[in-house]
Symmetry: C2
Subunit: 361 residues, 2 copies
Amino acid sequence: MTDPFAHGQLNLVPFVSVHHMMELVLEIGVERFLTELTGYIEEDFRRWEAFDKTPRVASHSREGVIELMPTSDGKHYGFKYVNGHPKNTREGRQTVTAFGVYADVGNGYPLLISEMTILTALRTAATSALAGKYLAPKGARTMALIGNGAQAEFQAMAFKALLGIDRLRLYDIDHAASEKCLRNLAGLGFDMTVCGTAEDAMEGAEIVTTATADKQYATILTDNMVGAGIHINAVGGDCPGKTELHRDILTRSDIFVEYPPQTRIEGEIQQLEPDHPVEELWRVITGQAAGRREAGQITLFDSVGFATEDFSALRYVRDRLAGTDHYVNLDLLADPDEPRDLFGMLLRFPGSSLLASRRRA
Amino acid sequence: MTDPFAHGQLNLVPFVSVHHMMELVLEIGVERFLTELTGYIEEDFRRWEAFDKTPRVASHSREGVIELMPTSDGKHYGFKYVNGHPKNTREGRQTVTAFGVYADVGNGYPLLISEMTILTALRTAATSALAGKYLAPKGARTMALIGNGAQAEFQAMAFKALLGIDRLRLYDIDHAASEKCLRNLAGLGFDMTVCGTAEDAMEGAEIVTTATADKQYATILTDNMVGAGIHINAVGGDCPGKTELHRDILTRSDIFVEYPPQTRIEGEIQQLEPDHPVEELWRVITGQAAGRREAGQITLFDSVGFATEDFSALRYVRDRLAGTDHYVNLDLLADPDEPRDLFGMLLRFPGSSLLASRRRA
């Protein structure tokens, strides 16, 4: 295998900044990027059993959480650093920021460092659309989008690219968020309605995406709002203490999850008994389990975001990055002439004072 | 608290490359760097109970291991990415490379990204010297240095800076390694002897540092080689299946460790019963436990390297970096005008094709 980034310098690691990521996404095109990324995520779900899976390593504080999400397929290793601090928006910061590293298992050397704030937004939407492909009613065109924050437009674009959704019913407790969403998506092929209530947004929707951000038990959807046959894409309930759906909706739904040990802690199903039956998305994708079986069924994708999806995203970015100029090389790894001579590298560094003091001696 | 790196741009994170780290180390001076770094490590050991401690998260493969080592003191969070691949040297790569991140717990934003290959070598040596300060015989001047690879000179410099060690007895199974060590340390204030055997190296030594690299059970020191009163600084035995000392030495020694749950898996004491008594270094430093009590006692620091030491090292580098030009700022974090408008940032990016397609519409 030739390394597309081969430069003969073992110290260098390609780095994709936020600026570079935007260049890459726009060069490829948002819809195509989402479609191709969904393909990578699907491919990795198909070989689910090849992955070394650990629940994320979380460091909780009063203000939020910092997490490391590692995984490996035996050939490559990836991890994401991600924070979640709901109060950040008050200081003009992002609630969630992230970066990730992709590495070679054979020698442990990083192959890519990338911003993952934008990339996470894209992979979250791509994973939702992937689940939707298997679970949503066939021919669905209308999606209710409840919670119109940072994730909303990405969800809309992914469902458009993958499922052909072209009618959006927007609702947010903060009307300005819906207006922002409306402005951002204007002219991109959607028929959009801003709704005054969540109930109103549900009218005629075949898919409902919930993507609200408060770190608290909330009830964005109540049982009476959910009719037969709908697909629920629950994105916002993604950490302990943070849910969006009334428990009664869950017991009426067939629930699909990424990785049960993590979702039972972080997802909507934290409200249920620990042995409540759920189906794993990878088993639906590989045909080992059924997705949507009948028109009246309520399907629920309880999305929390799993490490393999970040792995797929890093894998995709690295493949797409080769041959472009949307990265810089970072001098991250010490590369002495002789591997055991790390001190000698310091000693021979131009202007080394060690050398100077020795010369004086 | 004012941020010494304040630049009014929330997207930027200072990055210390290998080149920058060498500049910083040489500007400060290796001995002073090691002395000050030891101070930071000692300070953090003194507030040991403030740290959130988790054993490292390891991903093992046939060829080696990739690990994440996170910790937090409640105000700051740090983690290190580090690999261990003994076969790497055959391809001209380092056995161990590392980088680390230091972040603000309050908002989850990274404050520093740094190379840590050089920094780990320095912090490992600094921690050994710190343990030596409390455990080695008073007035010790002679150290046997067994294993003359990448870590050897750093150990020598740290014990010189902190304890005044100025006589070294070098031994390595590969004579060329000892010769490299001799060359690198020439003129830096040591009286050095290259020895033909490990036994020979032990002659007259008050401290013995073992820092060999093979990933296998080895017996660098046998029981008969270890006389009364010596301090053993065992650096090389640092992962499951990798030890350096004969078991009988361990049972004759008073053993001091960083974090017992990790050392029992990775250190020399993996050879002992899981309840074999060990003392924690932080308790010696805070005066809650005795260090060296008598001249004839054999003390053993079973070093494996713990996350708090990396935290201390990142904390030190960040403090010392302020006001220098030994870093660059990376555009790592998305910083939209409005935190919830991540998609809008993409949309308004110069040359955005999204915008173009909308204009055409």
